[in-house]
């Protein structure tokens, strides 16, 4: 290997590292923030499981309706709309806060979604 080639190899590594760091900032913005995640809440026996779920802004929450009738998950600022039996619906909540939600069809069903910054 000639001396010039030995010199170029470490420079290539630096370029790759710089690109990796740039991509990390591009997709994460804040280095302390994890990638958006997908969470599931199962509706079974007219209960939201888990009843309380903690997520981060931008995460996706999917409600899976295992019951034999339709349900909703409805808070003051968002709703899944009607989720038919054996179907699912998703919501992405951007604003941090505590969202108490209910099924508008069956108001005795309640859940809590906590969006932590």
């Amino acid at each position: 290997m000639n001396p010039a080639a030995r010199w170029r190899w470490p420079a290539g590594v630096l370029v790759v590292a710089a690109v990796a760091v740039a991509l990390a900032f591009l997709f994460h913005g804040n280095p302390g923030r994890t990638q958006p995640r997908r969470h599931e809440v199962e509706i079974s026996g007219f209960v939201f499981v888990p009843e309380r779920l903690e997520v981060q802004p931008g995460d996706t929450v999917v409600w899976l309706n295992r019951d034999i009738v339709a349900h909703t998950a409805t808070a003051s600022s968002w709703t899944t709309g009607e989720i038919a039996a054996d179907s699912a619906s998703r919501v992405v909540v951007a604003e941090p806060g505590e969202y108490r939600y209910t099924c508008v069809l069956h108001p005795t069903m309640t859940g809590l979604l906590v969006v932590v910054p």
């Binding site: 007219f46 034999i68 009738v69 039996a85 508008v104 069956h106 005795t108």
Partner: protein, 192 residues
Amino acid sequence: MSGRKSGGREYPAGRGRAPAVFTALAAVCVLATSAAAQESSLNDAQIAHIAVTANAIDVEIAELVASRTSTESVRQFASTMIQDHTGVNERAAALAARLGVTPQENAVSQQLRAEADSVAAALRPLRGEAFDRAYVAREVAYHAAVLSALDGALIPNTSNAELRQLLVAVRPAIVAHLEHARELQSSLSAAE
């Protein structure tokens, strides 16, 4: 609406018919004991007929609501009853077809039908608050009776696993409807 006074409180016209509704309610409660008494003689086809009849009746009674109430929470409850019980019966019909079972009329389902006709006749002339109170009281009693019949007679005596599974899946709906009806009843009482 015109009214009459009783004990210093004015009641809306039509409230005098309430005793007829409560007589019919007493008949609802017969469902649980009747089904329990006949549990040993009920086969799956008969249990399926009782379940289908019970769902259909609650839909029919709920269909009386829209033209007789001005209370949004009562209207919403009735709408949920129509949607849920219709959905359950569609599943029951699909299951019966798949199993090749024809639901078989029997003494309990006949009694349910007679009771429903009596309740409907008592509810039909009522309007407004009088209707709300009578309808919601009926829903509380009806769902309590259906729950008791499910637990005491229908689920334990169903032989077919899929039919039993459907009845077990229906149970939380009946519990939720009962709780919802009780909450409505409390809110109507508080508003008096």
